[in-house]
């Protein structure tokens, strides 16, 4: 049996959404759902494995925008209220299902218990900041935490603006240092977006490795020896870890991935849409905007509206089968690759963290089962992280120039540069040029001007987030995404036009600082191209 290494990388990221100007804001639910359904369950899984003395390790990228939101007291308080509403709804659902829909009673009780557990963990255990949970697991050697671009910008579309690329990387690294107390070794390339030369910026900030899309290897101008089964060194020495498309597609494929199994829970059927407004009204958004509540009772069943009730016991058994299938598939490939490769293969399996628990309800159970099977030790697979792998085998990597690539549709930039979103680049690029101009003309300002310029830099960075063009492309929350890009750029223009006439709009500044409270320690001089 051949030995192979397996490296899970989970990218935890959400765009910066924080609207204290509204009593409740619909898009803030993205964060609350992710905490409830993915981040807290993943932390519980990690701690359960640790308590059971299961050896494991994997990588988690926590984006600066997510970290900012997770550490924000206002959002923490709102999340607590969100949990309280869920507990209240859970109690009502347990009573309602007992009488009206007994087939759902088990799940209603499960959701109530999950909401109570989340409340206890969040408020009492983590003191309203779950970043401490990730930090603790890293300190105990279970996780490797890494950073990503400041606002998760899709970097290839800003290649012509080195100051903006540098700002995204430098602020990503510095935010990580502020949050976790040390510099990151790895850098999650947003959307696996890579262009040759990006590694120079990464190296200048002390980054040792990043992940790429699978095709970055086979489409390289160099002859790659080991496909995606070994990381490579870029010409400047930074390591690139290509994603194993075959392994990730077992999970991620919309057509045939494990989460599409008909026994698993249906994501899109939620009581927020199914129950009468008179009942569900207090738990959705005003005025009567139906949203997901997280209370979902149906199984996928098939491509039909006639769903069958979800059976948690059957689904759990299926996650075990899928975990075994996953391990079996990787092991077979490792055996097949053994004679062909000169070195032990590494499977790099990169996913969005929110896939586990939020999108794929059973995903955390599956991941835990995979980890326990690997730890059982008889499969020839060993978990590792990129940094550990480099420590062990960094001397024996081939030097290769990865090719321009991303993990989006088509493998390049098409998702983020599409008919629906291409309009934005004219304005964002202009804002970057003007931000460079401001940083050059008004370097090292103090007090109000400094704050004014710092806020301008924040607005430019927020406009660059990859989430906005993706939402426009995907036609999901596209209006909100368009508004956000427009708002950030309009905000930037306030600074530009005022600075050009030697003025500071103090009213705007105070309100903008209050609204977009991200990167507290930013220094706008970072945009000075002469730096």
């Amino acid at each position: 049996m051949s030995r192979a290494h397996l490296s899970f990388i989970l990218n935890a990221h959400l765009p910066f959404v924080r609207h204290p100007e509204y009593p409740r804001f619909l898009e803030e639910d993205w964060l609350f759902e992710s905490i409830s359904e993915s981040y807290l369950p993943l932390l519980r899984m990690c701690n359960r494995l640790a308590d059971d003395k299961v050896p494991y390790t994997f990588t988690v990228s926590l984006s600066p925008s997510l970290c900012t939101m997770l550490a924000d007291p206002i959002l923490a308080e709102r999340y607590t209220q969100y949990l309280e509403r869920h507990i209240e709804l859970g109690e009502k659902e347990v009573a309602r299902c007992k009488i009206e829909q007994p087939a759902f009673s088990d799940m209603a009780a499960f959701y109530l218990e999950a909401a109570r557990t989340n409340f206890t963990d969040f408020v009492e255990h983590y003191k309203s900041n779950i970043l401490e949970g990730f930090k603790d697991l890293e300190e105990r050697g279970y996780l490797e935490l890494v950073t990503t671009a400041a606002t998760h910008a899709f970097l290839p579309l800003y290649k012509e603006y080195p100051s903006a690329i540098n700002a995204q990387v430098e602020i990503g690294v510095q935010s990580f240092l502020t949050t976790f107390g040390h510099l990151p070794k790895g850098f999650w390339l947003p959307e696996c977006g890579y262009y040759p030369g990006l590694e120079e910026v990464l190296r200048s900030h002390g980054i040792s490795w990043f992940q790429t899309a699978s095709q970055a290897m086979l489409l390289s101008p160099d002859k790659v020896a080991n496909g995606v089964y070994r990381p490579v060194h870029c010409p400047n020495g930074v390591a690139a870890f290509p994603r194993d498309f075959n392994g990730t597609s077992l999970v991620w494929s919309n057509e045939s991935g494990y989460p599409t199994d008909k026994i698993y829970r249906e994501f899109y059927r939620d009581i927020g849409y199914d129950l009468p407004l008179g009942y569900i009204g207090p738990y959705i958004h005003e005025p009567q905007v139906r949203v997901f509540t997280g209370f979902k009772y149906w199984a996928i069943t098939g491509k039909t509206d006639q769903k069958v009730p979800y059976d948690r016991i059957r689904a759990k058994k299926r996650t075990v089968e899928h975990a075994r299938n996953f391990i079996y598939t990787l092991q077979k490939r490792a055996d097949s690759l053994g004679p062909k490769l000169e070195e032990e293969p590494l499977f790099t399996l990169a996913f969005d963290a929110e896939l586990f628990g939020h999108w794929w309800f059973e995903g955390v159970q599956w991941l835990e089962e995979v980890i326990r099977l690997i730890a059982a030790g008889d499969k020839g697979l060993a978990m590792t992280t990129p940094s550990r792998f480099l420590e062990r085998e960094g001397e024996r990597l081939q030097q290769v120039q990865p090719s321009f690539s991303s993990w989006g549709h088509g493998g390049y930039n098409a998702v983020w540069l599409d008919g629906a979103n291409s309009w934005s680049y004219r304005h964002i690029h202009k804002a970057i040029e003007r931000m460079e101009e401001l940083a050059s003309r008004f370097g090292d300002q103090m007090s109000l001007k400094q704050r004014f310029l710092n806020q301008a830099a924040r607005e430019v960075l927020l406009a660059m987030a990859s989430d906005w063009p993706f939402m426009m492309y995907n036609k999901s929350s596209a209006e909100y995404a368009t508004k956000r890009v427009n708002d950030h750029l309009s905000n930037f223009n306030v600074v530009y036009s005022n600075m050009c006439k030697n003025a500071v709009n103090t009213e705007w500044l105070v309100k903008a600082e209050k609204r977009n409270t991200i990167f507290a320690d930013i220094d706008y001089n970072i945009f000075n191209p002469e730096r």
Binding site: P73, S220, G227, S249, F404, G411, L417, T506, W508
Partner: protein, 243 residues
């Protein structure tokens, strides 16, 4: 320096700024006195470089904290002073963004001066705008080019890139009625490196093992190749039509 709407700030915020600016006895001032003092302070600053007051404040990179002077109950109903984005900007420039190895996206803008010069008093065009797409080798020598006619109202275009292994740039050009051409602006250059396997004369050295090493990772268990047109071409060629 002009301070716009400084009277909209809270007294605590005014005190904070006054403290930052080194205003004497700011603790003893009422609201109006603080505003007067700050206007005086910032008025004086116009004539002196920022460096002269640098020593007053301990300024460290990444250490400029936001103020926290208002309670969280405060609600903002839209930021003041913002305006809608313009449709385009009034400089003459063209930018090229790589979409994939076969397509790029160009956007451009034209200055008022250029727009005035290219039409007569009645608004009739005195010539035509066009894009010239140039394909260059890595040594920057031009290999070939082609033109795309555009309308005076056009501001963006998808550009076909005929071949991998070359650099491309686009000129925004004007041709007058006499046929004389002029480049008004040139874009940045985008480079498309050709994959090694695209032109390899001995694919995978004839080794099936090596072929599997590369392609086993790029195919789903249902036999679907990763979503990438170039890769599919390469796979098709190297597998002699099997994939």
């Amino acid at each position: 320096m002009i301070l716009i709407n400084i009277d909209s700030l809270s007294t605590v915020e005014l005190q904070h700024i006054a403290e930052q600016e080194g205003v004497d006895a700011w603790q003893d001032m009422d609201r109006e006195e603080l505003i007067d003092a700050l206007e005086d302070a910032f008025g004086e600053q116009d004539d002196e470089p920022a460096q002269t007051i640098k020593g007053k404040i301990n300024r460290n990179r990444y250490c400029n904290s936001l103020t926290s002077y208002r309670g969280k109950a405060y609600q903002v109903n839209g930021l003041p002073g913002t305006e809608s984005l313009p449709e385009c900007y009034h400089d003459t420039s063209i930018h090229l963004l790589l979409r994939d190895p076969q397509w790029a996206f160009a956007y451009w803008s034209l200055s008022h001066q250029v727009l005035e010069e290219c039409v007569d008093e009645d608004g009739n065009e005195l010539g035509r705008f066009f894009l010239r797409v140039s394909q260059c080798s890595s040594g920057a020598s031009e290999v070939s080019s082609y033109d795309i006619d555009i309308d005076i109202s056009d501001r963006q275009w998808n550009i076909n890139l005929p071949e991998m292994g070359y650099c491309y740039h686009v000129d925004l050009c004007w041709r007058d009625r006499r046929g004389e051409e002029q480049s008004l602006a040139q874009s940045n250059t985008v480079e498309i490196a050709a994959p090694y396997w695209k032109h390899a004369t001995e694919p995978f050295d004839g080794s099936l093992d090596q072929f599997c090493t590369h392609f086993s990772s790029l195919v789903t268990r249902e036999g679907e190749i990763v979503d990438n047109a170039i890769l599919r071409d390469v796979a098709h060629t190297l597998s002699k039509g099997v994939l």
